[in-house]
């Protein structure tokens, strides 16, 4: 038996190192991307992106002075708009609320859907903190949320002028998100 190993055996011995190095390089790129935002394992895109909003017809929130919301109202628009799922019981909704108010004063149309929330409590929430919404639909059983593939509240969708869903964000809209995502997208689809 020869003591010096054949070239094939040599290559085999190097294989683990090579595979580990390649995986390590991949992980390093992922970590870099994590801090710059280029890689995000949690950002699962909505299956509805690029598709029209699903059919729905929601009654208005009694006492809020705003009409209800149907899918038909989200087609053939003059400008892109936001659809925001909220609930009075949701703490992050309170966090994003100032951003919604600011967007509304800037003239961005925002449609609200009160998700699994008692109408009186949703109304109390809006009375206390202000209403950024042009229209409000009440989705008490949460069925429309299922149709939209909702993760939870708050969740915000951007609808372009043709009524197609262009962007979805699960979680509270922070100032950074508005600056980095919402504002450019609104300009792009204007």
């Amino acid at each position: 038996m020869s003591v010096s190993p054949g070239p094939r055996r040599r290559i085999l011995l190097f294989a683990p190192l090579g595979i580990a190095a390649a995986a390590g390089a991949g992980f390093l790129v992922m970590l870099r991307g994590l801090s710059s935002g280029a890689y995000n394992p949690k950002g699962v895109p909505s299956a509805l992106l690029g598709k029209p909003v699903p059919e729905f017809d929601l009654a208005a929130l009694a006492g809020a002075d705003r009409p209800g919301l149907t899918a038909a109202m989200l087609r053939d628009l003059d400008q892109p708009l936001l659809v925001n799922f909220f609930a009075s019981w949701c703490v992050p909704c309170l966090i994003e609320h100032p951003q919604l108010m600011r967007l509304a004063t800037d003239g961005v149309p925002i449609m609200g859907i009160a998700y699994k929330d008692k109408p009186t409590e949703a109304l109390g929430f809006l009375r206390k903190h202000g209403t950024p919404y042009q229209r409000i639909g009440v989705d008490l059983p949460g069925r429309v949320g299922i149709e939209w593939g909702l993760y939870g509240v708050p969740e915000t969708y951007l609808i372009d002028r043709h009524g197609l869903i262009r962007w979805r964000y699960a979680g509270p809209l922070t100032e950074d998100v508005v600056k980095a995502d919402v504002a450019p997208l609104l300009r792009r689809y204007a």
């Binding site: 991949g26 992980f27 970590l31 994590l34």
Partner: protein, 654 residues
């Protein structure tokens, strides 16, 4: 003061570890007996320092020292004492301290039990263990100091995740870490062997107990985690192919392969390069798991402190240890001349088959775990790989593995013929067929579970055949008792561990027949499931130590005979602002009756009822596997692996 002492002890452990790695490596290189002799005391010193640091951490938690940031984040004065203690390793920082403590324990154990080791090998093993310790201590001190102070002190801690306040989870991380870190020892042995350029039967004898110990702790740790998920999370499932679960399964598979291939090194002086590779791989996969869980590169239901900066540090450590180990392997493994030549049909051939199958399984699980991440990175595609992939991809590997598990132990070393072994297995095969048709008869046309029952019967009967064959139970029954006493414990242990897998598969197959129902019941109404009648009596409020709960009282009866009262709860923890669901489980040998309370609606309650046949056998099987390997560990041959020490003892006696 105590916290500073703990911080100082960590720094001291780092300094001692650095010293240890130099002393060990240089001592072995120069063959300097005094330097090499210092590695044992240094290992003890590292153990004392890390043990002191860990004690300080526990002290801070038990006294609820709210000037320590880690305590504020993870504890609360109102928590029961057990969870204050377990909270010390519940956080990222604390768990890293536990990690280095267990590493130091391993170093101490190698020093204590390793007096018979060749001193050069011992010094190198200690040095490599210390090198691993250096990396992780530096990681703790640089990025995750558990003793950071906050001033002014917080009024009280912010509680711990109530889901984690559970005895099952209190002991899940320590057991898991004993497994992960135990593979650091086999890693150290492998690196020392590569440095020496020599692997012999004695090396195999030394590596095997460590692989065995690490593997059985890992078995227990994984089983405990899965059991916890089963009874605490209230999903009724036990294994979800979640990336974090897979991360613990990978070293388990590699370690299982390692402890089998180490037998071949020991008995036949063959398969050396491969065994060294497996030893490197098992620890590498343990580290990979640590990295995946803590860096935030993947999504999982398990969340630790996800921090890319820490991720970079851990990746650097991975590069040093895995990269260094494999580089050394590529450079030095060629020096290890393969000596044993063996026939494919033999005990060692069967063990090679076992290794191939186990490693293929590990490769499948690894690919399934990492593929979504790399697909996202390279192709920009969001994919999730779930249970359907893992179930279909692992099944073709598990079936031959199970088939070979009963045959392999009956084959003699060196050269065997298959036919006599198969002849001795006829009644085992009959048991398997019996299990198959028995299941079909009881449960109807359910092929998957029936195959599971067949596999379980085959394995358990196969383990029996192995033992009866060794005892010559049928050919010479009179001498069987004497032979049973003389049979090495390792043989008993192997058979028991194999049977344990059979018991586990029995449980898995039973769970394949599980049924569940989602019902809305008003008080007084009942629902039927699997022959049992579940009647909701009332829904009430109860108060616990640090929670309030809604509790449903469900009476279960069978054919009019009351069996048991189940009381599932929905607990609300005001401090943590969390609601958890506490499943009610009634365990019998045949099945678990499992009820979960959901939302309440118009006076009624949403109840999820599960009937899980044989569910407890899954964890019973895991416990039996661990028991088998513990028995194997207690084998005399493991202890006399130190011939020098034995001689020394005999000299003392004389």
């Amino acid at each position: 003061m105590i916290a500073e002492l703990g911080h100082f002890a960590l720094a001291l452990a780092l300094a001692l570890s650095i010293a240890q790695s130099f002393v060990g490596l240089l001592g072995a290189r120069w063959a300097d007996a005094r330097l090499m002799g210092a590695t044992g005391p240094l290992a003890a010193g590292i153990l004392i320092a890390t043990g002191g640091a860990f004690a300080c951490l526990i002290w801070s938690f038990v006294t609820n020292d709210t000037t320590v940031a880690n305590v504020v984040m993870n504890s609360h004065s109102a928590k029961p004492l057990l969870y204050k203690v377990s909270g010390s390793w519940g956080s990222h920082e604390g768990s890293m301290v536990l990690w280095v403590l267990i590493l130091a324990l391993c170093g101490g154990a190698v020093a204590a039990f390793g007096q018979g080791l060749p001193s050069v090998l011992h010094a190198r093993v200690q040095a490599v263990l210390a090198l691993v310790g250096v990396g992780f201590l530096a990681f703790i001190l640089a990025t995750s100091n558990p003793f950071d102070r906050v001033w002014p002190p917080a009024p009280d801690g912010q509680g711990l995740n109530p889901i984690l306040q559970d005895p099952g989870l209190a002991f899940h991380p320590p057991l898991l870490y004993l497994g992960y870190v135990g593979f650091a020892v086999t890693f150290a042995f492998a690196v020392a062997a590569l440095l020496e350029g020599r692997v012999d039967a004695a090396w195999g004898r030394w590596v095997r107990p460590w692989a065995l110990a690490a593997w059985s702790f890992l078995t227990l740790g994984i089983a405990l985690g899965s059991w916890w998920a089963y009874y605490e999370l209230g999903w009724g499932g036990y294994w979800f192919w979640d990336p974090v679960e897979n991360a613990s399964l990978l070293p388990w598979l590699a370690g299982c392969a390692l402890l089998h291939s180490a037998v071949v090194v020991e008995k036949r002086d063959a398969l050396k390069t491969w065994t060294v590779f497996l030893a490197l791989l098992a620890f590498g996969l343990s580290l990979l798991g640590t990295f995946l869980v803590r860096s935030g590169v993947l999504t999982s239901v398990h969340a630790f402190a996800n921090d890319p900066a820490r991720g970079v540090f851990i990746l650097g450590l991975l590069g040093c240890y895995i990269g260094g180990g494999f580089a050394l392997f590529a450079w030095r493994a060629a020096a290890m001349v393969p000596t044993g030549i063996f026939a494919p049909l033999s005990r060692e051939g069967a063990l090679v088959l076992n290794n191939l199958l186990l490693c293929s399984l590990a490769a499948v699980v690894l690919a399934g775990t990492l593929y979504p991440m790399f697909a996202d990175l390279l192709l920009g595609e969001k994919i999730s790989v779930g249970a359907p992939f893992f179930n279909t991809a692992t099944l073709p590997l598990v079936v031959p593995l199970v088939l070979a598990m009963a045959v392999g132990p009956l084959l003699p070393w060196k050269r065997a013929t298959l036919w006599p072994a198969l002849l001795r297995l006829w009644w085992v095969a009959l048991a398997g067929v019996g299990g198959y048709f028995g299941c079909l008869a009881i449960a109807g046309a359910r092929l998957g579970p029936a195959l599971g029952f067949a596999a379980a019967c085959w394995l358990i009967a196969g383990a029996g055949a192995d033992i009866s064959d060794r005892l010559a139970l049928f050919s010479r029954p009179r001498a069987a008792w004497a032979r049973a006493k003389g049979l090495p414990r390792a043989a008993w242990g192997a058979a028991i561990a194999h049977a344990g897998l059979g018991v586990m598969i029995l449980g898995l197959a039973g769970m394949g027949l599980a049924t569940d129902r989602l019902v809305v019941l008003h008080p007084g109404e009942s629902a039927e499931l699997a022959g049992n009648t579940y009647t909701l009596r009332r829904i009430e409020d109860v108060n616990g130590a640090n929670f309030t709960a809604r509790q449903a009282i469900i009476e279960v009866s069978r054919q009019g005979q009351p069996r048991v009262v189940l009381a599932p709860q929905k607990r609300n923890f005001p401090l943590a602002r969390m609601t958890t669901s506490e499943a009610a489980i009634h365990t019998t040998w045949l099945a678990d009756l499992y009820a979960v309370l959901g939302e309440e609606r118009e006076g009624g309650a949403v109840l999820r009822l599960h009937h899980n046949p044989l569910a407890p056998w899954i964890w019973l099987g895991a416990a039996i596997m661990a028991l088998g390997s513990a028995l194997s560990l207690s084998d005399r041959r493991m202890r006399i692996s130190a011939p020098v020490r034995k001689l020394a003892k005999e000299a003392v006696r004389a």
